[in-house]
């Protein structure tokens, strides 16, 4: 599999859609394709401790969901941050701690956990035995 630097994507030298089939080097670590939403691709490192999120459309006039997500995290109260995955904006990409999304985990949820998940449009994942929201644009929005 071809290896590229994350800067190549951020500087539009390589289309992010093509990077799905490549290994991306970020901070000296390899990241490969994990999942995608409507606006971003998600890549994870081999030991699944971190993810990076890359916008599907770099530049242009589209909404920058990465900047919004970082703002939501930075402006959140400490109590809300407890229910959010740690999020950092680095040169236009989002770096987050990895959590296993409930859609992949196959674990049974309690009613309070289901209530929290529904309030985040089910964009939540397991950090150990705790559920946290990983798509902060959806955090308790519903």
């Amino acid at each position: 599999m071809k290896t590229i630097m994350v800067q190549d994507i951020l500087e539009n030298k390589i289309a992010v859609s093509d990077a799905q089939n490549m290994v991306i080097i970020h901070k000296g670590e390899e990241y490969s394709y994990f999942d995608e939403g409507t606006s971003r691709y998600v890549f994870t490192n081999p030991d699944k401790t971190k993810v990076i999120k890359l916008l599907k459309t770099v530049g242009g006039h589209g909404h920058d969901f990465n900047t919004s997500e970082a703002q939501i995290y930075n402006n959140a109260s400490d109590v809300d941050k407890e229910q959010m995955v740690r999020t950092e904006l680095i040169n236009g990409l989002i770096e987050q701690d990895f959590v296993m999304p409930i859609k992949y985990a196959g674990r049974k949820l309690t009613i309070p956990q289901l209530t929290f998940a529904a309030s985040c449009r089910n964009e939540v994942g397991w950090a150990g035995d705790k559920l946290v929201c990983f798509d902060l644009d959806e955090f308790k929005k519903y």
Binding site: G106, L109, I111, L114, T115, A118, N122
Partner: protein, 105 residues
């Protein structure tokens, strides 16, 4: 994997699995059909179910939204209403299963 709506129903099934049919049907009357009860056991069980599942405030707001609907303001969010609706479906599904079990020899 079960979808999330099914998981809500399964949680409801599990919570009331050791409750007698006589008490359970009254719980359904209270929680799904909003009927009052004079039976302390039923009342305590309903309260415990809501409290154990962190739904006391949500359920209270849900009932208020039903009784006093407002055009531009709801006390509950969409997801909260969906959870309560699914719990009501779970209660009725459990009722059906019990009824069916009684009919079968």
């Amino acid at each position: 994997m079960m979808n999330l709506d099914q998981q809500i129903q399964e949680n409801v099934f599990d919570y009331f699995k050791n409750v007698s049919d006589e008490i359970f049907v009254q719980v359904v009357d209270c929680l799904a059909y909003h009927q009052s009860t004079n039976n302390q056991e039923v009342s305590k069980l309903c309260e415990a179910f809501l409290s154990d599942n962190e739904l006391s405030i949500i359920y209270g707001n849900y009932v208020l939204d039903l009784k006093e609907p407002r055009d531009f303001f709801s006390r509950t969010s969409l997801s909260e209403r969906n959870i309560i609706d699914q719990i009501k479906v779970g209660l009725m599904s459990a009722s059906h299963v019990r009824f069916k079990n009684r009919l079968q020899p």
